[in-house]
């Protein structure tokens, strides 16, 4: 650590306005060059300006961000489908169709994604002129799952109200006995309309909403939002702001990984480990309360600022590290637990890459994506490397979490040691319009926020991509060789967010 240490500068983002016909070639060139499609955002600029679609591509390291924008025909808004080259694009396009009524031309699988059957077909909630939400249609047709035919096949419907403390989502299993032939997830039960709630808020007010996108990821979502706002307003935050924010996000990672380690044990009936993990999580939640003033780490990260009450002490961190190690030991030394983890719900690397999964799931399948390295908002130091496992099974996802929790604890200590104050900010926010992008490696994976701000400092659009959105489809692929009773374990090992996905 030296006094000459400087803050990480604002990232560079190139924006291109393309026509519909150019989009495909340009997108393919970027994908071929190693970029991934991080976001497709629809925009309704209102006042007859019509609709616009923004494609965000990113790659790193070094941190590169490219935006392609196309304006759409107001009479028949449509985009050419990129589904054949990018699986993530197929999902974003279905979302565009449901929320904005933008038709993806040539999409091979153009069925609803966000829209539930009882929503009116021609009502697009994200359009400016959508108006009040119409009444629900009752007795609407069920979702058209591609059914598995054949004698003896039956369907196990699970959810949306799950047994246990699980968020709502519907899973449809096509099985013969205990053999899963196919599983389809039907989500968006907790679709509240969060993105629209952002619109019209002053930029400083958006952060409380960002903190409630997914309660367990309050810090990372808040940070991604703040980075996007700062990018839009062209604010360079001081180094200490960056360091304190990183401390908070890493604490969140540790807390959630610990909970997941315990939950994985619980799903194989090893309650003692779960109890141990929950006790440890209570310690971490209380520590969070002391560090930020809120057990879920809310309130510390604000646009242009970061405020802590104190930093975790070395002793506290060492104690947590020792208990994490003990927890992992408890699980790995149990033969039955290991037997359940090993070889269960394998997500092969080619599938992980093709589907574009992120975060823990990707790294457990050997894909070394980590926004802390690809798109750093802070100087994490040279010894931060992605934690990668090759086997792609539940054990790999368990191990990635265990190793990342330990690494994050070390990182917290290092980052906290480098911060010179507990409170830092840029002062007041400038009144300026623009668009900005924020990318943060949350504990689940890379979170991307993109905001557009008008000249008064009000949000005109906020688009949120939780890593769950891109990772959910991989779950059913990983079930290829899995039996029905192992599904909860497989699902828990992914532990994707419903709230963050559904928005």
């Amino acid at each position: 650590m030296t006094l000459r240490e400087r803050a990480v500068p604002l990232p560079v983002r190139t924006c291109e306005l393309v026509t519909a016909s150019e989009l495909e070639a340009r997108a393919r060139a970027l994908l071929d060059a190693g970029f991934r499609l991080a976001m497709v955002a629809g925009h309704d600029d209102g006042h007859g300006d019509g609709l616009r679609a923004v494609y965000v591509f990113c790659a790193g390291p070094p941190d590169r961000r490219v935006e392609l924008q196309i304006r759409l025909d107001p009479n028949r808004p449509a985009v050419p489908s990129l589904a054949a080259w990018s699986f993530p694009a197929s999902r974003f396009e279905r979302e565009l169709a449901d929320l904005f009524g933008i038709e993806p031309l040539g999409h091979p699988f153009p069925r609803p994604l966000v829209r539930h059957q009882h929503w009116p077909r021609d009502w697009f909630p994200m359009r400016r002129d959508a108006g009040a939400s119409p009444p629900l249609r009752v007795g609407a047709e069920p979702f058209p799952f591609v059914a598995v035919e054949g004698p003896g096949v039956y369907e196990i419907p699970v959810g949306p109200v799950h047994a246990g403390l699980i968020e709502p989502g519907h899973f449809r299993f096509f099985v013969v006995g205990e053999t899963i032939l196919k599983m389809k997830a039907r989500l968006w039960f907790v679709h509240r309309g969060v993105e629209k709630l952002f619109e019209g808020r002053p930029v400083s007010d958006g952060v409380v909403l960002a903190e409630r996108i997914s309660g367990d990821t309050a810090a990372a979502h808040a940070l991604a939002y703040c980075l996007a706002v700062e990018d839009a307003l062209k604010i360079e935050v001081p180094r200490d702001v960056q360091l304190l924010r990183a401390v908070v996000v890493e604490l969140e990672r540790v807390t959630n990984h610990v909970a997941d380690l315990g939950a994985l044990c619980n799903d194989v009936g090893f309650g003692v480990a779960q109890a141990y993990a929950l006790t440890l999580r209570e310690t971490l939640l209380r520590l969070a309360g002391e560090v930020t003033g809120h057990r879920l780490l809310r309130g510390a990260i604000r646009p242009g600022a970061a405020t802590l009450r104190r930093v975790p002490t070395g002793a506290e961190l060492a104690d947590v590290a020792a208990r994490v190690e003990r927890l992992v030991d408890l699980a790995t030394s149990n033969a039955v637990v290991m037997d359940r983890f090993k070889g269960t719900a394998v997500l092969p690397r080619p599938d992980a890459e093709a589907i574009g999964v992120l975060g823990v799931v990707a790294r457990a399948s050997g894909v070394a994506v980590d926004a802390r390295i690809a798109h750093p908002f802070c100087d994490f130091g040279a010894d931060l490397v992605p934690v990668v496992e090759a086997s792609g099974d539940v054990l790999a996802r368990f191990s990635v979490r265990a190793r990342e929790a330990a690494a994050s604890l070390r990182l917290v200590e290092a980052l906290a040691g480098r911060a010179r104050s507990l409170e830092a900010s840029v002062g007041g926010l400038p009144q300026r319009g623009g668009s900005g992008l924020g990318m943060v490696e949350g504990w689940r994976g890379t979170i991307v926020h993109r905001v557009e701000v008008d000249a008064d400092g009000h949000l005109t659009r906020a688009k949120v991509v939780d890593p769950s959105f891109l990772t959910w489809p991989a779950l059913s692929v990983a079930l290829g060789d899995t039996i029905v009773p192992d599904f909860p374990l497989a699902n828990k090992s992914f532990n994707l967010s419903y709230a963050g996905n559904d928005l």
Partner: protein, 125 residues
């Protein structure tokens, strides 16, 4: 007191604190409260979150599936009054707009001790 948890549109913050309420430190279980797998086995519902339009019918069905006498606990600000999400286009309302609420636990999210205290009042121990 057996409770069936229903997430009607929560950000999952309340779920964290409910889990902590039943975890070793708070141990709501020692007062006879328990989370169960089926509403048929339950004496009441523990509802979190605003009620989204997509969850309104499932919440109602869960309520109907619970044998009488039954109670409904609305856990967290969103469940009590919609919280920050009141008025969003995908939101049907707070819990009492959909099913009758007997007990409210305010907070965003409520602390485990507050949840435990509310459950303790229900079990009468």
């Amino acid at each position: 007191m057996q409770l069936r948890h229903v997430d009607a549109g929560s950000c999952n913050g309340c779920e964290i604190e409910i889990a902590q309420a039943f975890a070793p430190v708070c141990d709501a279980g020692r007062f006879g409260a328990r989370l169960v797998a089926s509403p048929r086995h339950a004496d009441g519902l523990l509802v979190t979150g605003v009620v989204t339009k997509n969850m309104a019918v499932p919440l109602q069905m869960t309520f109907e599936a619970t044998p009488r006498p039954r109670v409904v606990v609305a856990c967290g600000d969103c469940a009590v009054n919609g919280g920050l999400f009141a008025g969003a286009y995908g939101v049907a309302g707070s819990v009492h707009d959909v099913v009758p609420v007997d007990v409210e636990i305010p907070g965003c999210p409520p602390e485990p001790s507050e949840i435990t205290e509310a459950l303790r009042r229900l079990t009468g121990r």
